[in-house]
């Protein structure tokens, strides 16, 4: 119980912030790549450019935000304190950042050594995180569906990264190419991404958007049921593939659709006076998840749909940029100003009131960036259908939306530095 009793040990601001500031760099690079390389990237999902683009978002943007947020929230939602959070953050950030950059360079250059170094760095960074988070989570009793769910999400990350390392090894020519791509994608996006998102949603949607809670049976069983369905499909996919695996894939995909539909229904019943940008991001992310699920299920029933060139590009865009990047961007707009406010408030020692969150990041800036994000999403979807005309404009739009997010977050850290000096001076004066 002692371990559980020290949830005051919130990690220092610098621990999660480095991940949040680095994330938009990756989505901006994705935009830049599409802008420079143009239509050839979108010829198929297997072009070096499309693979680099995908991993700039998944191993870059998403992994940065997810690991940074977990370092921050593990003590809050599960009472699980990482030992030496700043050291863990430095090691993880210091390895996954060059790892993801090198992975994308490796796809573009098809270079053996670059694949090997990238895989090594990503595996090391994620390994350190899994070890630290696993130790923290297993040191405390599970007191809620959230802490149970967080424990369940970690193996999904381990499986996806392990399969990724095998695939990188195969690309480097040092391992035989395994038929592991569908498993790598499914465990990364559903086994890790959706499970983690759902576990976080169980807490943040009702509490911050003031909706009714998710049904108790959903909160209790959804992560486990989703992982179970994924495991059964994985077994069928590895052993036989074919029609059985295709039929079984409908279950985890249907599970994702249920989560998205349930979240949209809860949002409809929010008590809040009006929706802010974060809620819009959540709503559109859930709509994109529903659309992507429908597309996958449609391709299961009518295989010719899935054989179309644009099908995987549209699905990928909906899931990654419309779903995960959107919901994470929306949450960054709450997490970053709150952490900065809390840091300044603690610095003022209760004598000086810190400037409120809406001064750290203004609603105007957030609303404009939100419009830029969804304009970029619309262009990306259109570019999947007509890459010749729209690939470069879509790349530019992603670059603008991501650059805007990066600038907004950097301004927030500038605001923080400025007020640290002001509050320190005021505290020193009041003590004198």
């Amino acid at each position: 119980m002692r371990a559980l009793l020290s949830f005051d040990q919130a990690p220092p601001l610098a621990a999660p912030l480095r991940f949040f500031l680095t994330a938009p760099l990756f989505s901006a690079l994705a935009g830049l790549l599409l802008l420079l390389a143009g239509p050839q990237v979108l010829v198929s999902r297997w072009t070096p450019g499309a693979l680099a683009l995908t991993h700039l978002i998944t191993a870059g943007f998403m992994l940065q935000v997810m690991l940074g947020a977990l370092i921050q929230i593990l003590p809050v939602v599960a009472g699980a304190n990482l030992k030496h959070p700043l050291l863990v953050a430095s090691l993880v950030h210091g390895t996954i950042t060059p790892g993801a950059l090198l992975l994308c360079a490796a796809f573009l250059l098809s270079d053996r050594l670059t694949f090997e170094v990238a895989a090594l760095l990503l595996a090391a960074g994620v390994g350190v995180f899994l070890l630290a988070a696993g130790c923290a989570l297993y040191a405390v009793p599970t007191t809620s569906p959230t802490s149970r769910g967080l424990r369940l999400a970690l193996p999904g990350l381990a499986i996806s990264v392990a399969l990724g390392v095998l695939l990188a090894g195969a690309r480097a020519g040092s391992l035989p190419l395994p038929q592991a791509t569908p498993l790598h994608v499914a465990w990364g996006l559903i086994g890790w991404g959706v499970v983690l998102l759902a576990v976080v949603a169980l807490v943040v949607v009702p509490m911050f958007q003031m909706t009714p809670p998710y049904p108790e049976s959903f909160a209790r069983f959804f992560p486990l049921a989703l992982l179970g369905m994924l495991a059964v499909w994985s077994l069928a996919e590895s052993l036989s593939g074919g029609a059985l695996a295709t039929a079984l894939s409908a279950f985890p995909v249907g599970g994702v659709a249920v989560f998205a539909a349930l979240t949209l229904d809860l949002q409809q019943r929010s008590q809040r006076a009006r929706m802010d940008a974060t809620q819009h991001y959540w709503r559109w992310a859930m709509i994109c998840a529903l659309a992507a699920s429908a597309l996958v299920l449609a391709a299961n029933v009518v295989p010719t749909i899935g054989e179309r060139r644009e099908w995987p590009l549209i699905c990928g865009t909906l899931v990654l940029f419309g779903g995960f990047v959107a919901v994470m961007t929306g949450m960054l707009y709450k997490i970053v100003p709150f952490l900065i406010w809390l840091n300044l408030q603690n610095l003022g020692q209760g004598r000086i009131l810190a400037p409120t969150m809406n001064r750290v990041i203004t609603a105007k800036s957030v609303n404009q960036q939100t419009i830029a994000h969804f304009a970029a999403l619309a262009l990306l979807l259109a570019a999947s259908v007509s890459p010749e005309w729209l690939a470069r404009p879509a790349g530019l739009a992603v670059l603008v939306a991501s650059g805007w997010l990066m600038l907004t977050l950097l301004r927030a850290t500038g605001f923080h530095r400025q007020h640290v000096r002001r509050i320190q001076a005021l505290v020193a004066n009041s003590a004198a």
Binding site: D8, A78, G79, M207, F208
Partner: protein, 153 residues
């Protein structure tokens, strides 16, 4: 059976409902209604803090022997929320919707991350450690918080 968690989390949701009522009144520009709703919200918050600081926390500290742990942190966060409540009240008195929204949003995030810690960690521990005290503790908490029954209109 989690009677302490259920009762205190229910009171959190009742306070949330009052917070949302103020927000809706401010959005409509009905300052009179907003001021009345805010008074009810602030009173409900004060009663909740007092129930914890004067009844629940001392019993938890006595039973576990941990005085400088989570209860100390929760008391500190109550202090921060009291400051935000006072600042929001001033903004409301000045009928400054933007200033009110700034304080209210910060208060909401502060309040909910505080509630998460209590509902997911501290209250379940109270249920675990104070189970034999619930006969007297529950009516006491109910009396102090108003039993989770707030006028939500």
């Amino acid at each position: 059976m989690h009677p302490i968690t259920d009762l205190m989390a229910g009171d959190h949701r009742a306070c949330d409902g009052l917070f949302a009522a103020v927000e809706r009144a401010v959005a409509r520009g009905d300052w009179h209604c907003a001021t009345n709703d805010f008074r009810r919200f602030a009173e409900a918050m004060a009663r909740h803090f007092a129930a914890e600081e004067d009844a629940l926390f001392p019993l938890f500290e006595q039973r576990t022997g941990i005085y400088r742990g989570p209860t100390q942190v929760m008391r500190g966060e109550h202090g921060q929320m009291r400051q935000l409540l006072a600042a929001a009240e001033s903004a409301l008195a000045a009928q400054d919707a933007e200033d009110y929204a700034g304080h209210a949003e910060t208060l909401l995030i502060m309040m909910q991350q505080h509630n998460i810690k209590e509902e997911h960690i501290l209250y379940p521990m109270c249920d675990d450690r104070l189970g034999d005290e619930t006969g007297s503790l529950l009516p006491e908490l109910q009396r102090r918080t108003g039993g989770g029954q707030k006028d939500l209109r």
